[in-house]
Symmetry: C2
Subunit: 835 residues, 2 copies
């Protein structure tokens, strides 16, 4: 720990060195002192009187100190080694809480538990004070978070970039069974996990015009902006597990630009002039709560470009700090685009190389083609992002010019390859003609990136055969896939300590935490009854915790002997929560019509549903209300008792997932085949030994390969059947048992008859696009199989163990290794532990 900065006299440096040698100590007494110092001087409370929340604040500042130390050293080490770096660009990161994860990754959880308990506080209780960082919608955003954890743990020289939304994903409030949305004031009580970097800031330009200059006989274009906003960096240290490496997730916030004020105003209406400047901040103020499309909204486009411009300026600044030849750029920089949201980066790099670095077009283009890789999460062409040309022209006039030039270049190239197939050429064009002329961002990304990744094996097939077929035929070598994964650190070690300890005990090592393939070692114990005993005990503890939470949130008491059957994810028609609810109605109806004696044979169920609907998505909101209406009827039916309960868990987020997943027996992933690109929720359940009831969609297909169809409950139409089924649905009647449950809803059995009418209409008269009707019988059968399996607890436990044992492939560590080797070309860069 002895590097001495330049520009500082030796004596001075030595003096400082003497005062600051060594790291912060982590023995319980040092930790206590550190916590109490933060109580007094950071939280500004009395050292003799502070509550759990204040203890949380002080504790996290103490952890923050330790994170900063490593984050700093990692930064220095990367700087010294100057390896090729990966820049991971994502508009969404769903980080959840940081405290427990940080102390576990730093390896100092036990010390903190001790330190706190001697001060009279319980670590678990204190950790519960933390709110979620929810800067994302769902799967894509949580995937970004998991991948950051793997990048840090695997010592890759990587850095994440995103936006620091002042309001993250809305809070879901349920009033009377209806979803209401509340802003997420996540920063109101401070955020100890970020470091404000007031001096790391860049101007971001908007609007204006493009002017031409003639310099040395060349025409140069210069963008003269009409508006300027400042992007300020907030750094979030991401600690790896079992390593000193702590990488950086840099999030940008918008501030009014002082620079722009230099053309200052001289106005009587000063107050309003200030308000107008302050509006700059709205750019980063709200996360868009739609998880599948953001069409044509100016603010959304501003967010994207704001994010892109700040990140690219930062990346180029870092490169230029040590290099002066852009030829080396591709050897030092890999840029990963998470979906098309950051795709304007391609144009931004091109623009900077052309207009600011004054490279020629060919040289600039050469560089651009080598640095970007792109991962798509889309399954349908209609879902692809388009930017109206009018909007782009007004907001980013120079970028539009460059896009046109690139498109022209490609159209010529393609014409040479495929001839005058104009229908196909017009499909491939980056510019979409039509009533609203638009830029197809996906086409742009495919054309300019060296690699296009899918997120699962089936997804890859969909891309090649459907969504991007035209491109696959021209550039087959560009198309790859990396099946998504999740980090076992958060999803097992942090959230399921019981299981984690048990696994370590039976494997005889903790190594699986960084090498999750070792979990397969559990297979040899799958029928060991001693393990069964322990395994069931762990599950019971987790179910108890979940049952308490359910009772607290909804007042419903549930039986621990029942099967906990969970579907938690965004509410979407394609994810078919409605199929689940109709299945529950069917189950309820069956029990009601059963002879008393038969009821004894029913396997008791607790059906748990959770998820948010986008605020403008009416049908999804109706599904939430239906869930509550059905729950109201079932839970208050004394005839039913513990045989069936239905609960909706409000405000689903990462922390809720961490609580629910370890406590569930069965989980549902029942999207219509061909609609889920990957799905990562299922992987978390799998790792936690929870059985899956699922369609052969997205990554489930690969889970089947690992676990075997016998250890899962697979049902429903295959992807290849779907087109034919859709045609059939239009002409044939749905099965009777399906029509019966739909009719119960329609006839007002659960009340709110008028309100549910349009919901029922989506299923009737051949409109059943998501095939709930045609999958219904098969769904019920899979549910019946699950019931039978659950009745045999030893069999069930064995299946459960085999789930965990087979989950190794679904670690984000594996995903990241694949990306590093096959797509990014980066190597680990480990910070020595005695830095």
């Amino acid at each position: 720990r002895g590097r001495v900065g330049e520009g500082i006299g030796k004596a001075k440096a030595e003096r400082m060195f003497g005062l600051m040698d060594g790291f912060l100590n982590n023995d319980p007494v040092s930790l206590q002192k550190s916590i109490l110092d933060h109580v007094e001087y950071t939280v500004a409370r009395s050292r003799f009187n502070f509550d759990d929340f204040e203890a949380y604040q002080a504790l996290s500042h103490s952890v923050r100190d330790r994170l900063i130390e490593r984050w700093h050293d990692t930064h220095q080490h990367f700087k010294k080694k100057d390896p090729k770096r990966l820049y991971f660009l994502s508009l969404e990161f769903l980080m959840g809480r940081s405290l427990s994860n940080s102390v576990i990754n730093l390896g100092i959880r036990d010390q903190y538990v001790d330190a706190l308990s001697q001060l009279g506080f319980d670590f678990e209780v204190v950790a519960e004070q933390e709110g979620d960082a929810a800067l994302g919608n769902g799967g894509l955003a949580r995937l970004s978070a998991c991948q950051m954890d793997s990048l840090a743990t695997l010592d890759y020289p990587a850095m994440g970039y995103g936006l620091r939304y002042q309001f993250g994903l809305f809070r879901q409030i349920i009033l009377d069974g209806f979803q209401h949305e509340q802003p997420d004031y996540w920063l109101n009580f401070g955020n100890p996990w970020e470091i404000e970097r007031v001096h790391v800031s860049y101007p971001v330009k908007f609007y204006g015009t493009v002017e031409e200059e003639f310099v040395n006989g060349e025409t140069r274009k210069a963008w003269v902006p009409g508006e300027m906003v400042e992007a300020v960096a907030y750094d979030n240290p991401i600690p790896g597990y079992g390593t000193r490496n702590t990488i950086n997730l840099r999030l940008w916030a918008a501030k009014p630009s002082g620079q722009y004020d230099m053309e200052s105003y001289n106005t009587g209406d000063y107050i309003n002039a200030v308000f107008n400047r302050q509006k700059a901040e709205t750019i980063s103020s709200v996360l868009y709560p739609d998880d599948r499309s953001y069409q044509g909204k100016e603010l959304r486009l501003k967010q994207q470009y704001f994010f892109v411009s700040a990140s690219i300026q930062d990346i180029i600044r870092r490169f230029k700090d040590v290099h002066d030849d852009f030829d080396e750029f591709p050897e030092k920089v890999a840029l990963q685009l998470t979906d098309t949201h950051p795709s304007l980066s391609i144009i931004e790099v091109m623009r900077i190389l052309l207009d600011e670095e004054h490279l020629g077009w060919n040289k600039a283009w050469d560089i651009v083609c080598k640095i970007f890789s792109f991962t798509t999460h889309n399954v349908i062409r209609e879902g692809l992002e388009r930017i109206p040309v009018d909007l782009l022209e007004s907001l980013l006039p120079r970028h539009l010019q460059i896009i046109y030039e690139i498109n022209q270049m490609f159209m010529e190239e393609w014409k040479k390859k495929i001839g005058n197939d104009y229908a196909r050429l017009s499909r491939m064009s980056i510019v979409e003609e039509g009533s609203v002329k638009s830029i197809r961002v996906a086409n742009l990304s495919i054309a300019c990136c060296h690699t296009v990744n899918g997120v699962s094996k089936v997804h890859s097939e969909i891309i090649k055969s459907r969504v991007f077929k035209d491109f696959y035929d021209v550039w087959p070598e560009k198309f790859q896939y990396k099946t998504n994964g999740v980090t076992q650190r958060r999803w097992v070690v942090v959230s399921n300590p019981g299981l984690s300890a048990l696994v370590t005990k039976y494997l005889g090592t903790e190594a699986w935490i960084c090498n999750v393939d070792l979990l397969s070692g559990l297979r040899q114990h799958a029928s060991d009854l001693a393990l069964h005993q322990d395994w069931k005990m762990v599950k019971k503890v987790n179910k108890t915790r979940l049952a308490e939470y359910i009772e607290m949130m909804s007042g419903v008491k549930v039986s621990l002997d029942a099967m906990f059957d969970v579907q938690i994810k965004r509410i979407h028609e394609y994810k078919r929560q409605l199929l689940n609810i109709l299945g529950i109605i069917h189950r309820y109806d069956c029990i009601k019509n059963m002879a008393k004696g038969d009821r004894a044979k029913v396997v008791p169920r607790v059906c748990i549903i959770g998820g948010k609907a986008a605020p403008g998505y009416e049908i999804a909101k109706k599904i939430i209300k239906l869930c509550h209406a059905v729950a109201e009827t079932i839970n208050n039916d004394t005839e039913i008792g513990d045989l069936l309960k239905l609960v909706f868990i409000p405000d689903y987020n990462v922390s809720v997932a961490e609580l629910v997943i370890p406590g569930s027996d069965l989980s549902q992933h029942i999207s219509t085949a061909g609609h889920e690109a990957s799905g990562t929720g299922s992987m978390k359940f799998l790792m936690n030994g929870c059985l899956l009831l699922a369609t052969a969609d997205g990554s489930t297909v690969e889970i089947i390969e690992e676990i075997g169809v016998d250890n899962m409950f697979i049902f429903g139409a295959k992807m290849t059947d779907v087109p034919a089924l859709r045609e059939k649905v239009a002409s044939t009647k749905a099965p009777l048992q399906f029509l019966r449950v739909v009719r119960m809803v329609k006839d007002g059995y659960f009340g709110f008859k008028d309100y549910f009418k349009s919901l029922c209409t989506t299923l009737e008269n051949g409109d059943d696009f998501y095939l709930l009707g045609s999958d219904f019988a098969s769904y019920l059968e899979a549910q019946a199989t699950a019931d039978r399996a659950f009745a045999n607890q030893e069999k069930w436990t064995e299946m459960s163990i085999l789930c965990t044992a087979g989950s190794g492939r679904f670690s984000s560590d594996r995903t990241i290794e694949e990306y590093a080797k096959k797509t990014w070309g980066i190597e680990p860069c480990k910070c020595p532990s005695d830095y």
Copy 2:
């Protein structure tokens, strides 16, 4: 240091006690460690590489730790003793910088200087990194800041309340001689001097309706608001000098209220719904930049009520924490209203006592009448604040009802006293009829406060004989005055260390820092030539520093031998910067017309003007431009050379004042008699041994009493002559030498002929309301006297020493002692130093 909080086990408390006994250490090594820790963990920079700004941040966090310790102990001590407290309510506080002031008041400046220098940093350079906290316009706001310093130093159990404007007073940028306004992004780089108290927050209500309820046979009114905003506290510790007492200045910031969200929205347009909620923050976002009137603006009224409501809720909460009988309220609470800006407090207390505490009207009224005192800064009836009834009715409907009731009560009382003198009754009424029906906030304040204070002896006369004559005749006992004062800690000890050391040397004690009357001891040394020598040396050092600053800001080189003649204050017609400029033109004209030989006898001058014009105040802006235009001509006239220079110092604020005042020889306070209520700038110059050239206005009259007219340059019309002079001006011609200089401006001698036309019009054709013409001759004479005096340096130095020696009466310590004894009825409450 051994109090143990309740609710914590003994063992635990003892453990914590063991870990945290004693205060932070202040030896240089501890301070270095503390600074470096903050560099690494708070500023998150490398301990081996940080710049002056980062050193400033770390240093101030280190000081902040020490402030928090004392602030906390003071809070505990007040809580334990429960004395009567003073709450000082002001919408403006002009605090300036905090670092130097804090370390001096804490008595640890030298230790920090050492600690820093051993790390290779210069304290002065580091301290220059700090920006001003400029949450106020001018005199009133700086007075509030000085009084906070005195309250802390004198150990009074006091607390300040104000608003935490996100943008303080605009930054003045001069482009081409014109003033432009830039928002003051003072929080952009963090503010180590405040402590965010996220849990100290109150809902503030607006709009809505008043409903009636019948409870136990009584009618109760309940205000049902239409909007709710949250007020969050930011605490600013104010350290006393030479005492452990560190009091609190609590500033409120507006945040969207989560509470209000409970009636949540269920909307497709979620993004816009969030933006609407975010608008709440605009309430506290900008300080109004007009220093004399804020008529009829809804946002201004919202600011006032927001401030009042949060403060009163906080005060009542604190009272109720330990008392349950409101009869004791007046024994525990004194509320000081700084001008009429916080006067809605009166109604707010009444409303809470009536509608929320359910006290009867008489009892509530009785309490209200005992607790408020009010200080007016106004000199003219037209300047008094009025709130349009329409606005108040919509924003605060219940308050309007209460005001009407109070008014009715008083109208009856007054009728009994003065009979049916309807003209007078209508002048006294709180409600003003007329084209815009309004509430007269001053009348309300006078009626409901137990004391009405003026800010100087003359001001008191103006109030009694002019502004509030009607009220004085009814309630003579209510009217008092306390001449304003300034704190010698900031204005001498912090900003003029040379003079400070010299004074201490000659008085043989530092006691004058807390007992400024001791300065009179300098009188006996006034003709001591050894002292003269030192005194001139100190002045020279200060002039050198100022000259360097002038050169840096304006490029003008000035001679140290010249008389530095300063006028720095807000630009206002009544403050007559224009008179000063016209005088300078006259001087220039004289020199130009002088025989070469005579020029040698001219006393060289550097005229320095600084100040901001309100953004909407056109005439004031023209005065600034004129100053630049004249400077341009004079400074570039090689014939003139060092005989005359004119410089405008941009962006006048507290820090600039701290630099300029110690370096000036002469200062001007030349308002038209009867227009300046007090003026505090003059007192700062006086303390620093700078001679005054002034009209007999405001506190200058009392300065004359102390210093004697022979040691000052007094000129111009007396207040009592002004009405007659105004009439005369309308009918007679201005003196020729005046018309000549005005004509130079008008004829375009300095350019910008058209632009200056309307400025000249204010002086001509009998429109010369501020009597520049009639005072001109006398002004020039005073200037000539000053020239002659300056020519005799020993005489001048003696006068200078006598200024400092006679400045004791103008310490805010004296002002505060008077308030405490005569108005507030509070006693010191000293925190023991071994707490």
